[in-house]
Subunit: 417 residues, 2 copies
Amino acid sequence: MENKTKASPHVVVVGGGFGGIRASLALAKLGVKITLVDRYNYHLFQPLLYQVATAGLSVDDIAYPIRAIVKQKKNIDFRLAEVTGVDFGSKTVTMNTGTIGYDYLVVAAGGMTNYFGMESVEKHSFGMKTLDESVIIRNHILSMFELAAHEKDADKRRALLTFVIVGGGPTGVESAGALAELAYHVLTKEYHHVNFKEVRIVLVEASDKLLAAMPESLREVTVETLINKRVEVRMCIQVTDYDGERLTLKGGEVIPTNTVVWAAGARAIHLIDKLGVEQASMRRAVVNEHLQIPNHSEVFVIGDAAHFMQDERPLPMIAPVAIQQADIVAKNIGNLIKGKELKKFVYKDVGSMATIGRNAAVVHMGSFKTHGFFAWAIWCFVHILRLIDFRNRAVVFSKWVWDYLVYERVVRIITRK
Amino acid sequence: MENKTKASPHVVVVGGGFGGIRASLALAKLGVKITLVDRYNYHLFQPLLYQVATAGLSVDDIAYPIRAIVKQKKNIDFRLAEVTGVDFGSKTVTMNTGTIGYDYLVVAAGGMTNYFGMESVEKHSFGMKTLDESVIIRNHILSMFELAAHEKDADKRRALLTFVIVGGGPTGVESAGALAELAYHVLTKEYHHVNFKEVRIVLVEASDKLLAAMPESLREVTVETLINKRVEVRMCIQVTDYDGERLTLKGGEVIPTNTVVWAAGARAIHLIDKLGVEQASMRRAVVNEHLQIPNHSEVFVIGDAAHFMQDERPLPMIAPVAIQQADIVAKNIGNLIKGKELKKFVYKDVGSMATIGRNAAVVHMGSFKTHGFFAWAIWCFVHILRLIDFRNRAVVFSKWVWDYLVYERVVRIITRK
């Protein structure tokens, strides 16, 4: 084989999320040289970010050092750096700390919060896509209760105690449920000077559906469960503006609030805008059936950053898509090296699930659907299993059991003034 | 009793550390009204701060919400605020969020890092008295390894990999030991591009003693153990300057380093300077035998903030002193209310202990002294027991067992850019 006599090819993987880690580990088996670049030194288990924001888990429960994940693979080199651009001509990646060349490139750089061009909302509301953002939300929510406990002005107090979450997808639904439990089961025991009748938790969704990917029966269960947890569910209404004190809805309704969490949408990360490639909805890079950028057969894009049509719809921005695409990309890079035919990507739907709080979740897999305690147990089991390491699993499991038994949330500390 | 017909007295406790929490809980039993003020919303288990700085524990393992501690006591009101002054005449405490009056005041505001007037050192080195400071140290140490992994300039690389800890007290010794284990047992497996022969961990102490409160035999064991862990122990030498790149020692020796952790001293917190009371060494407030400020019998100072002479020496700034003083102060406030005679404070020495790493600690209690594995087991047991809540105990215990078995440190994430 002629390849054996050449230096082994160098693959650069941009992003240490679900797609990037999976691709790097799969590529490592091919014997190629891999450089994995991420702007953070940890892999983040994004599906549980909302539990950090609502004081259920701590930062390191869902963040795992990338070097620890790849330490067994001597052919993976990790670089802590932010990628600022790619030159397809010279095959180099530009980072804030220098440049590196590549033979093959895998862009798994992920997504970010989409404010749909609403600058005032972007400036005043909280996004929840990064670990730092989740901690900021936790600090903010707890600070609102501290301020409210000694606020004499009733108008100011109500605004402090009104929490609005925008977006009825999994992040919005899970956050609203977790926040309601934090307020009504945990904080109510400790803020003796707060009248919890003044607390409002509002979930705003523009369409008439919560968890739109779910079948109708489960969507209905979701709405009912949230209402039972004292979340005000507002559907069929759009947010038009937020100035930090007043949230304005379409038609002129105003909600005075100091807290708006924006979970209404995601888009591909800014890096994709800088590549000069064709972009589709949500600024995602259009890829071909082999997940390559058209005209650059050595460049692959996967996960949230990639626009891949299947059954006439773009695939959603979820971890299973990124993971399945990572496997195909690793195979296809192997095939390119060996001169073999490339594999086409087809996404196999693994279903979806969301938790709404204690004993309450909705699960949909193929024709199987369930809700309530059993769904909640499945949700817990699946998420524990997916955590990357035995220790994180054990700690998260013990925290969940503890919270369940004693209605607690221990991570209620306000850091970073 | 005439007091029964009056409104119950109001006690303000400043500080939610070991002294302030203990005093508040003891006072709560007297039936008085208590306002507990702290600038953080959590009680911090300071003896384990160094484990946060060296990636062994996470922030919320050693920080516990104050409201959760006092939630059973309806007569304790917590306020998240920074105390900026006290007016003894009008009996009011000024905070950044307003003022409150008091009948009795307990100042348990603690200590802070003492740079002994060396401004350049204060500006460029890291203190380790607060949770935020510990996280900053952790982020910094891990970042140094990330930068060193791709630094071509050998001089810059050595400065990145040189870590100097100043101060041979428990904090300095425990930090040096923990950092050596982090570097040589954990990071060495993951930074394939770092030559660990270039790593230096230096402990600098001005006197000829490490752990000066320990008997000589244990001090010797401490030095030997650190040297065996590849810590360079430098005694009898003072730091004179640090500009962020070059640490200068007395006599002109220069150590190029990007990391200096300053654990060389503590002093009473700035608030004490603003009270207009007599201050002694380390700026601590002089108190009488009943722990009162002279001429203000309703004002008590305890813990690191108080200067109390016993056996011709001021009591050290350690938790057992604060805790024992808190008990006496609560009794004395009760006695003042009832018109009874006040109790004198006498500190009962509970001994001291420090851990230097795996299987290595020194323990000294009365005439009992031991070191090695048995001392280390005692240290672990005592520190687990002292943690405030069963869940924290269980989580910390499981992390220690895990780290012990697999030589790991999972909290190696760099947060906050």
